[in-house]
């Protein structure tokens, strides 16, 4: 009897463990816990056709070489849409990993086809790029306001600045611009005129875990004076930073507080710097301190891990910005899903961010990377595309040991010795993407398969453009170890309006706010084309109208106290607005 009494706890534990095993509490149902397990709708009114080959995009981004530097969460798959030759047609620029070139430039011929531009300056040899080096992100902007779009490429070990001399000629101005002394694995670039002096500045984010030799472990804010870039991080940011940052999101999140400053011409967007290994941080401009300061409490630490990409939008046309943050779900090791953040308080001192992704069913979508808000069907409601997949390479799933490695304190796991062996392994393999279509009740339904978005590549950078100028927004995706994909939007026609703003003296419109008023609703867009990870949208602002008629457009420009007001708008057309003619 005594023995039975002693046996009781063991039997009880055995029973509890049996229940747990039967409920898959200790193991995961399949080898890939990051699977996209959300239900999809079977019918949708949006449709895409993948046409990269037909359009002439013919390269393959070989990301798996050299194997000595393969890491399951490499980027090296950036894409930017920009008009490099000022012919009015958008060109495409991609990062390349293991190739003779480090960047692939495709010029749009205006007839629905792209042709690759091979220049010696794009070759790895021209900049003595070693086999283990690779680029991660591209930003295309006019750094010297000469009317041509220049290339700013961030990557492993360095940044590269290629000045556009016009007529598709480029020169390497990295040294001249003071950028050659930056040594670090740089992940992402965001662009904005932070000090409102008329020259676009860059926010470059490092991920030093990829390079133990790196001496840069914090984001860099480089102020541009039209010739050189100067590190002004400590001057502009009055706070501490975290390492392992992946991308940044700029947006005027605290609209109610900031509109007083807009009237004074002061435009200081909030900055959400996403982090994959430590905590993400949210910064707002402290007017008294004249610097960016970290604000308030954001997400719980355990739910903020793994944020990589994202986007910002006034998602529900209520003049309230939402930050979508794509994440790496780490089921069982912690709770981590995609987030939809907004400020819960209008008081900027509190600036508490709350996550509403579960409420709108945007929280679960695989191991997510690039994400873009856009109106896929021009019904006036913003939809959301999310690119998924991590590392579809070998046969052995590595989720368990990868997450075990992630649970080691980050300051202890610097250096390759603590890394697990990733050979012949996969992580979040062959995942489909998500195409969340917004319903009238503001919930979202995943419609990827129904919309014919069927690829299973490991997506990274996602850019939005209108490559054939038909008013229907297309998806341009850069994949890790895969071909770049172009999903042309073939959805049924609906009303829309496009705005292309040409400013005086070639000044950029990045950071501008567009308020469209229609007879049915008002819609607000902010132009930050480099938000998120490794992608840059085309230079225009697009509004889906549905059945509405555009009535007026107000454009708030950084540095300007009074907005531009345009009352003559033509729907179903790109309206080109010249600032100097208003």
């Amino acid at each position: 009897m005594l023995f039975l009494k002693r046996l009781y706890p063991l039997v009880l534990i055995g029973f509890i463990l049996y229940v747990g095993i039967s409920k898959h509490a200790f193991f995961l149902k399949n080898d890939d816990p990051y699977s996209v397990f959300i239900p999809e709708v079977k019918k949708t009114n949006i449709h895409f056709e993948e046409m990269h080959t037909q359009l002439g995009i013919d390269h393959f981004n070989n990301s798996l070489q050299p194997l000595s530097v393969v890491f399951p969460l490499k980027i090296n798959s950036g894409v930017a849409i920009a008009d490099l030759n000022n012919d009015g047609f958008p060109d495409l620029i991609y990062n390349l990993n293991f190739d003779t070139d480090y960047v692939a430039v495709y010029i749009n011929d205006g007839k629905g086809h792209f042709k690759r531009l091979h220049l010696p300056i794009f070759s790895r040899k021209s900049i003595d790029m070693k086999p283990f080096e690779y680029p991660n992100s591209i930003a295309v902007f006019d750094y010297d306001n000469n009317g041509t779009q220049d290339l700013f490429i961030s990557g492993f070990k360095r940044v590269i600045l290629l000045k556009n001399l016009g007529h598709l000629n480029f020169s390497n101005e990295t040294t001249t611009a003071g950028l050659d002394n930056l040594h670090g694995p740089f992940i992402n670039v965001n662009v904005f005129d932070f000090n409102q002096d008329g020259w676009l500045d860059v926010l470059v984010l490092p991920l030093s875990i990829f390079d133990k030799d790196s001496d840069i472990t914090h984001p860099l804010l480089l102020l541009n004076n039209g010739k050189t870039f100067v590190d002004a991080t400590r001057k502009v940011f009055n706070t501490t930073f975290e390492d392992y940052t992946w991308s940044s999101l700029l947006g005027y999140l605290n609209n109610v507080h900031q509109k007083d400053y807009f009237a004074k011409g002061i435009f200081k967007p909030d900055i959400y710097i996403q982090n994959d290994y430590t905590r993400s941080k949210y910064y707002t401009w402290g007017f008294k301190k004249n610097a960016y300061v970290e604000r308030g409490r954001y997400l719980p630490r355990s739910t903020s891990h793994g944020q990589m990409g994202g986007d910002v939008a006034d998602l529900f046309n209520n003049h309230k910005n939402y930050f979508f943050s794509s994440n790496m779900p780490i089921s069982k090791f912690t709770n981590g899903f995609n987030y939809l953040l907004s400020t819960a308080e209008e008081n900027p001192r509190l600036s508490i961010l709350i996550n509403e992704a579960p409420r709108y069913r945007l929280d679960s979508c695989g191991l997510a990377w690039g994400a873009r808000f856009f109106d896929a069907n021009n019904d006036g409601l913003l939809d959301l595309f999310v690119a998924n997949g991590a590392y579809s390479y070998g046969k052995k799933p590595i989720w368990y040991k990868f997450n075990t490695w992630l649970s080691i304190p980050y300051f202890l796991r610097k250096g390759k010795e603590s890394n697990p062996n990733y050979s012949n392994s996969n992580l979040a393999t062959n995942q489909r993407n998500c195409m969340f279509v917004q319903n009238a009740d503001h919930t979202f339904s995943d419609s990827a398969t129904a919309a014919n978005i069927l690829d299973l590549y490991d997506g990274r950078g996602v850019a939005i453009g209108d490559l054939n100028s038909d008013g229907k927004l297309d998806l341009i995706i850069a994949n890790f170890n895969g071909p770049p994909l172009i999903y042309m939007n073939e959805s049924p026609t609906n009303n829309w309006i496009g705005i292309k703003l040409i400013r005086k003296n070639h000044v950029s419109n990045i950071g501008a706010i567009y308020n469209l008023k229609t007879n049915k609703f008002t819609n607000r867009k902010e132009f930050f084309p480099n938000n998120g990870i490794a992608a840059q949208n085309e230079n225009f602002v697009h509004f889906g109208l549905g059945a509405a008629e555009p009535m007026s457009l107000e454009i708030l420009l950084p540095g300007h106290k009074k907005p531009l007001v345009i009352k003559k708008l033509i729907k179903n057309k790109y309206n080109t607005i010249y600032e100097d003619k208003l």
């Binding site: 005594l2 009494k5 002693r6 046996l7 009781y8 706890p9 063991l10 009880l12 534990i13 509890i16 463990l17 229940v19 747990g20 409920k23 898959h24 509490a25 200790f26 193991f27 975290e242 290994y277 430590t278 905590r279 409490r297 997400l299 719980p300 630490r301 355990s302 739910t303 891990h305 780490i330 089921s331 069982k332 090791f333 912690t334 709770n335 981590g336 899903f337 579960p358 368990y400 040991k401 997450n403 075990t404 490695w405 992630l406 649970s407 080691i408 304190p409 980050y410 300051f411 202890l412 796991r413 010795e417 603590s418 890394n419 697990p420 062996n421 050979s423």
Partner: protein, 266 residues
């Protein structure tokens, strides 16, 4: 060495509280805020009160409930705000679920409560292994206070045996697998793992009193921990602790800590 109750018990209580507060203000522990901590503790206290109302022969300790509830708050994570309330209540309830001949609970209540909750609600609750991994200050705090607690509780030998066992198992795995020793060894420093070690594995109420027993207990938990990790089992430290506790109780069913009822209530 005997357990210094005057210091060990309050230090146990203070340690967990310090982790929460330091974590909240310095290391970005939020969960749903300190309110969630309060709810978790309240749940434990209410459960204690209800059990004490029905049980005549044994009274549960409120401070013990506080310790268990705080440990649950620190270690469990969920997207549902009410989970900590449920898990804390279950943790306290387990004190009367499995007892030895002296009426003392056999399993560490927080650990047992978390295991039951994970098994019953696998999609709603999990143990957070990513918490605090970016704060070396908090790691230092856990190590300092943790070692102090086990020293005063006369469980330092147990803790060191676990650490030794962890290192041995890491060395064995690195020898037979194509991974570095560092990769198998560093998870020992996961802050949540250390909280397990110092406040659950080394719980004086549910661990062997003799040094020999502590050595075997600590080594065996560590070895089983690594065995489970090798087979991709989630929550390996928690499961190892529960299994080894049950096996040791089977081997030696005497109460490890001979206490009178009045001492338990103190």
């Amino acid at each position: 060495m005997k357990i210094n109750y005057k210091l060990a018990y309050p230090l146990q209580l203070a340690s967990l509280s310090a982790y929460v507060l330091f974590g909240f203000f310095n290391a970005n522990l939020v969960r749903a805020g300190l309110v969630q901590w309060g709810l978790s503790v309240l749940s434990g206290l209410v459960t204690t009160y209800l059990i004490n109302s029905f049980l005549k022969e044994r009274k549960l300790n409120n401070f013990s409930a506080y310790i268990s509830s705080t440990a649950v708050y620190l270690l469990c994570t969920s997207l549902s705000w009410y989970i900590h309330i449920i898990v804390s209540a279950i943790a306290v309830f387990t004190k009367v679920l499995v007892t030895n001949g002296k009426g003392n609970h056999v399993f560490n209540p927080a650990g047992f409560g978390m295991l039951i909750s994970i098994c019953l609600f696998p999609t709603m609750v999990t143990l957070d292994t990513m918490q605090f991994i970016d704060s070396y200050e908090l790691l230092g705090l856990i190590l300092t206070m943790g070692f102090s607690v086990v020293f005063l509780s006369n469980r330092l030998v147990l803790s060191l045996s676990y650490i030794l066992g962890f290192i041995i198992a890491a060395a064995i795995r690195s020898y037979i697998l194509p991974e570095s020793f560092i990769f198998f060894f560093l998870p020992l420093f996961n802050p949540m793992n250390l909280i397990f070690l110092f406040h659950m594995i080394s719980d004086p109420m549910t661990s062997p009193k003799s040094y020999k027993g502590q050595i075997v207990f600590g080594l065996s938990i560590a070895l089983l921990d690594h065995f489970l990790r090798h087979n991709w089992v989630m929550f390996p430290t928690l499961i190892s602790l529960m299994i080894m506790t049950a096996l040791f109780f089977l081997y030696n069913g005497e109460v490890w800590l001979k206490l009178k009822t009045s001492e338990i209530s103190a």
